[in-house]
């Protein structure tokens, strides 16, 4: 066997000075040669820990072997067997805490770049296999109808799996496009719309009907769906309700929730204002409050919209940030300034109700809290003011209460999440399953997909499949 190569093949990417100024994808993806070179680092160990690390149990060594053999259609087949949305997962999954962290090479050097390889296979398929070829043969119709509410990764995955089993599936989506957070939240430079659209089209090609502009709870209730011929319902409505801080001045002009800011920029294309009609404010100085992926995405959008200075304001230290390491690095390289151990006390406005400043406390880390991270505590008398033109509050989201309020017998927790069986997503209400952020609170794309998958299998069992 050849000597172990402990370094990954680097992925080509835009240089930060340039990437910070455009909305094009930052990471550019491997070429076939690069992918094969990276794949050849895999020692194809018999224990296959990576498969166990993957929430949807992709046969990772299997598709890596196929890449090595140059048999790309086989790589596609293996990947799609477990994951209907590989182009998305290859880009946004936290592989560093899932499949890659358990790779045996991780102990000696860099683990196999599984995410990059997954992305490569998905992109190869899009470029080389017209969608007709990759759609499986139509299954025999079961005559059962399933309504899927929400078209994020949980809903798309559940819908795809149920359609492949022969059930007639309709997705109801509140917004004017399908894709959920993948479309309205995660920006173009990290996950191009075209990729998400291709995956949505794939799901539609399986025979899934997608009804847009349909707010369930308003246009129809879950009980009405069940009364109108649907045999089962899957709820994948995510965690779409933005949290604010409840501190003085929060309703000043120029203060956005991350959901609003990202929706304006990504979904409504405010970054092409004048061609598109939806505006967004940016100004010279933008402060983004929070330390997760959503905060990093908001900050990098603000930078691309032309802000001179963009700050991440976070009350703990960098080590506690929940954002992926890679996203933090991307943000830093592009010039985002990190104001750590800093927490807003109040927002200051002018007579036009426009935010002009943010009074903050300095924080220090105390004892660990229930999340295991050290609790930030206010340093007495440490208040100082940061001048800002725009503030984006990226402190998390909870499920929108609309569905729970309009559905009899659906139990929710204090956090507003829907109570559902951890394994299969069955809720307390008959014929209704749920999965993704609506059950877990804001989490990850892949966990939402895993939940959609498990629920689809259980729904199929219930429907007599």
């Amino acid at each position: 066997m050849a000597k172990l190569d402990l370094n990954r093949v680097p992925m080509p990417r835009q240089i930060p000075k340039i990437s910070g100024k455009n909305f094009n994808e930052v990471a550019l993806g491997y070429s076939l040669e690069q992918a094969q070179e990276e794949a050849s680092r895999c020692i194809l160990c018999p224990r296959r820990p990576c498969v166990g690390g993957c929430p949807v149990e992709i046969d990772i060594p299997g598709f890596i072997q196929a890449i090595r053999d140059g048999d790309m259609p086989e790589a596609v087949r293996i990947l799609k067997n477990k994951n209907a949305l590989p182009g998305i997962c290859g880009r946004v999954c936290p592989q560093e805490t899932q499949c890659e962290v358990v790779c045996v090479l991780d102990k000696k050097g860099a683990p196999i770049a599984i995410g990059r390889l997954e992305r490569f296979v998905a992109d190869w398929e899009r470029a080389n296999m017209p969608s007709a070829n990759s759609s499986p043969v139509s299954p025999r119709p079961t005559g059962k109808r399933v309504a899927v509410v929400g078209s994020g990764p949980a809903g798309l995955t559940a819908a795809a799996d149920l359609a492949k089993l022969g059930h007639s599936v309709t997705i109801f989506e509140a917004l004017h496009v399908a894709g959920g957070v993948l479309m309205y939240g995660i920006p173009e430079f990290r996950l191009p719309e075209e990729i998400v659209q291709a995956e949505v089209d794939y799901v539609a090609s399986l025979g899934v009907k997608i009804e847009l502009d349909s707010v369930v709870g308003k246009l129809m209730t879950i009980d009405e769906l069940l009364g109108n011929g649907y045999d089962a319902v899957f709820l994948g409505t995510g965690a779409g309700l933005p949290m604010f801080m409840n501190i003085p001045g929060e309703n000043l002009n120029g203060i956005y929730s991350a959901n609003e800011f990202l929706t304006r920029v990504n979904l409504m294309k405010a970054y092409q204002f004048s061609e598109y009609d939806t505006p967004v404010k940016v100004g010279k100085r933008v402060a983004v409050i929070g330390g997760g992926n959503v905060a990093m995405d908001s900050a990098r959008c603000a930078l691309r919209l032309g802000a001179d200075e963009v700050y991440i304001v976070y009350r703990r230290s960098e080590a506690e940030m929940s954002a992926r390491r890679e996203e933090v690095e991307n943000a830093q390289e592009e010039g985002i300034q990190f104001k750590l151990l800093t927490n807003p006390k109040q927002f200051l406005g002018d007579e036009q109700n426009q935010v002009v400043g943010m009074e903050c406390y300095e924080m220090e880390l105390g004892e660990p809290d229930e999340s295991g991270r050290r609790r930030p505590v206010v340093k007495a008398g440490s208040e100082f003011v940061i001048e800002v033109d725009v503030v984006v509050v990226a402190l998390g989201t909870t499920p929108n209460p609309l569905i729970a309020q309009t559905t009899h017998g659906l139990e929710t927790t204090r956090r507003g999440t829907v109570v559902a069986d951890e394994e299969v997503g069955k809720t307390m209400k008959g014929k209704v399953w749920a999965g993704g952020d609506i059950v877990t609170g804001a989490a990850t794309v892949i966990s939402a997909m895993g939940a959609g998958k498990h629920a689809a299998a259980d729904i199929n069992k219930y429907l007599g499949g």
């Binding site: 004017h176 929730s257 009609d277």
Partner: protein, 269 residues
């Protein structure tokens, strides 16, 4: 009528569920923005929903160019909580400008619920008045005002409102819908009389489903989302200055976009 348009939109599923006080979010086409418009009427049998709007910017001006048989990209609804309808007694419905459109179905249902309806319909001038007959048909009494005196009584809607309140007739509730400033003054007029005054707030919205917080307002000192907690609120509790300031966030952008659109379309809307 100058700048005011009425559309009947084929939207059977929305028509089936619409209730007074609710609204829709529309987007004209791929490049359009999402704007909320109150539902003015609906016909379940015909499968239609009526919207009324005034041309105030790019989106409404572009919308105004649509004609019979044209379609818009998106029409989402019915959104928001319906107006609370109950037998209160005597209800005064105050409509300012295009506010007559949303108030008409509310007055109708309040009337059907057994209330005595006194309506006040106001506009800047006679040529901006519409649906007078429609409102009259569901009112026990109708007072019309124009700012310039070109029709009906000269003056603002708050004047007859104040007289009614002072007249000694027991008024159980006031419903006021129109421009924010008019609703604010109606609420100020009724406050000393202690008569509950419901208003329908038209904050800027994006999704209209509680997802963005763009529509947030302050009511009784608490932040509310107009799209899901409203649009109806107790006018005495609303922080009007905040609402009005937040409605002006994009004035510059709206102006720029409108001028550019006018330049491109070559029209002189």
């Amino acid at each position: 009528m100058p700048g005011i348009h009425l559309f009947k939109v084929a939207a059977p599923s929305v028509a089936k569920k619409a209730r007074p006080g609710q609204f829709v979010v529309v987007r004209i086409d791929e490049t359009g923005e999402r704007i909320p418009l109150t539902i003015a009427d609906w016909d379940e049998k015909e499968g239609s929903v009526t919207i009324v709007f005034m041309e105030v910017g790019t989106t409404t001006a572009r919308l105004a160019l649509l004609g019979e048989g044209d379609s818009m990209a998106n029409f989402v609804g019915p959104l928001g909580l319906p107006t609370h309808i109950e037998r209160f007694g005597t209800v005064v419905c105050v409509a300012g400008g295009v506010g007559v459109a949303p108030i008409a179905p509310i007055a109708r249902e309040l009337k059907e619920a057994g209330n005595k309806i006194i309506s006040i319909l106001g506009a800047r001038s006679q040529n901006l008045l519409f649906w007078e007959d429609k409102l009259r048909s569901v009112s026990d009494q109708l007072i019309v005002t124009t700012d310039d005196g070109s029709y009906g009584r000269k003056g603002l809607v708050t004047e007859p409102l104040k007289e009614l309140l002072a007249s000694g007739e027991k008024i159980a509730q006031v419903v006021a819908i129109g421009p924010s400033i008019m609703m604010k003054f109606c609420a100020e007029t009724t406050q000393p009389f202690g008569v509950k005054t419901m208003v329908s707030l038209n904050s800027i919205m994006v999704d209209g489903t509680g997802m963005c917080g763009c529509c947030r307002i302050s009511v009784g000192g608490l932040t509310k989302f107009a799209c899901v907690d409203g649009p109806d609120f107790d006018g005495h509790q609303v922080d009007w200055d905040l609402l009005i300031a937040r409605q002006r966030i994009y004035l510059d952008e709206e102006k720029r976009s409108f001028e550019q659109w006018r330049g491109q379309s070559g029209s002189c809307a």
